[in-house]
């Protein structure tokens, strides 16, 4: 079973040289720590930056330089600033190659819910609806089950949706899965020490398990 950093490490293996990537808040942010050495990946922050760097050194923070999570950050050489319309313009036009974000629920159709729980304070969708509606390649990073032990991979999302038919791949503490064109999840890899049976039991949506399921290689 993976911890959050393990999930981030596994997702980092999906990166390709030359990718522009948007990382959501939470586990996705950690992916930045595991970009393979020598690989060129540019991080987009939807508040208006390409080329996001690490947190600044103490005392060097700039209130005018933050990421979409409102954290103080730095830039890397070759970065560019722009306004929010251009930022979502590059997202909508498919120039951002990969979007990694968290989710409360994902279902067999690739629908995703990650912004609203009825009856609880709603903070808003931020840029998530734009991202999931536009990105050609979306990986969801999340826990396989919620705190109550219920599967977050469902036949159909129960929470208000963020977007439909958009999730391509899911990486959890238990497994890597993709969403099939025809609907349903397909098990691709299992986390070290996790059995196929455990994954099957933790997945409420239809799950295809075909042949031998390899263990993730994450280091």
């Amino acid at each position: 079973m993976l911890d959050k950093n393990g999930i981030a490490k596994r997702i980092a293996k999906e990166l390709k040289d030359g990718y522009y990537v948007n990382l959501g808040i939470g586990i996705p942010t950690l992916v930045a720590n595991y970009i393979p050495k020598g690989m060129n990946v540019v991080l987009q922050s939807e508040n208006g930056l390409l080329g996001m760097g690490p947190f600044p050194f103490e005392g060097e923070e700039d209130p005018d330089l933050i990421n979409a999570g409102k954290q103080t950050i730095t830039t890397v050489p070759g970065s560019a600033f722009f306004d929010s319309a251009m930022s979502f313009g590059m997202i909508r036009s498919g120039k951002v190659n990969l979007t990694i974000l968290g989710a409360m629920e994902v279902d067999e159709n690739g629908d995703i819910a990650n912004w609203k729980i009825p009856g609880k304070m709603v903070k808003g969708m931020g840029g998530a609806m734009d991202l999931v509606a536009s990105a050609k390649n979306i990986i969801v990073a999340m826990q396989h089950v919620n705190k109550a032990g219920e599967s977050k991979l469902l036949p159909k999302c129960t929470l208000p949706l963020t977007g439909i038919r958009c999730v391509k791949k899911i990486v959890t503490e238990l497994a890597v899965l993709d969403v099939m064109e025809s609907g349903g999840f397909r098990l691709l890899e299992r986390a070290p020490g996790v059995s196929v049976d455990h994954i099957v039991k933790s997945t409420a949506g239809r799950l295809l398990v075909e042949g031998e399921i390899p263990e993730m290689q994450i280091d």
């Binding site: 005018d64 306004d83 929010s84 997202i91 903070k123 931020g126 609806m129 509606a133």
Partner: protein
């Protein structure tokens, strides 16, 4: 072409109860601090505020919320703001949550004289309820309308007496967009310079979109999430 006014109070002198205001900024980054303070002093009420976020308790739009001057917020993410939450749950405050890219592009539409735009954001979700959906090349899009706001208030790094603006780093965010979308746009700047001192090649917002500009004062520029790493 001199658009300079003395200060925020003069800049907002004719903002009235019930008006719709666009406010630049993302989180607390690049917000028009001086204009917000002046709105608090003027105590205009029943405002509709269009802003990506709603400030925090005690700063940014939180100051207007505290004095119950806002009737309706149109935002994409309202963050952590106890007074906001209280007013929203009690029904005192109306809240329209819209996708961030939709918010940005609706401002762009206003500034570019386009009455409406198409975006896929929100298709299949509750955001699409009651909206026109149109399919282009096999993909569904929502029709979203340009904003029609009385005033816009933006914060720039540098500005000149003609209203030309340059923003710094990610404090640019919604500022150039809202600057284009107000019937009257007020710019407050950290550095106000005479026309001719800014390189015309480096201007982000041409002065034609700005009606009033003033030298801002006492910027706090609070940091919402201070994240740093230690030197080793």
């Amino acid at each position: 072409m001199n658009k300079v006014v003395a200060n925020a109070d003069e800049a907002i002198r004719d903002i009235k109860d019930g008006m719709t205001l666009l406010l630049g900024g993302f989180g607390l980054c690049g917000i028009p601090e001086n204009c917000i303070a002046a709105l608090v002093r003027k105590n205009v009420r029943d405002l509709t505020c269009v802003s990506n976020n709603a400030g925090v308790d005690g700063f940014g739009l939180g100051l207007l919320l505290q004095k119950k001057q806002i009737r309706k917020m149109i935002s994409s993410y309202v963050g952590e703001n106890a007074e906001f939450e209280r007013q929203m749950l009690s029904g005192e405050l109306q809240v329209d949550l819209i996708p961030q890219g939709t918010l940005a592009t609706r401002c762009l539409a206003s500034g570019y004289g386009m009455p409406a735009i198409f975006t896929p954001a929100g298709v299949g979700t509750e955001v699409a309820e009651g909206k026109e959906i149109r399919n282009f090349n096999g993909k569904d899009y929502l029709l979203e309308y340009a904003f029609d706001a009385d005033f816009a208030m933006v914060k720039a790094w540098k500005g000149d007496t003609h209203g030309n603006l340059i923003f710094k780093a990610t404090s640019r965010n919604f500022n150039p967009l809202m600057a284009m979308a107000g019937k009257i746009t007020i710019a407050e700047v950290e550095h106000l310079v005479p026309a001719g001192e800014l390189d015309p090649n480096e201007i982000h917002t041409p002065g034609i979109y700005i009606q009033r500009i003033f030298q801002g004062a006492a910027y706090e520029k609070r940091i919402e999430q201070l994240t740093v790493q230690k030197r080793n």
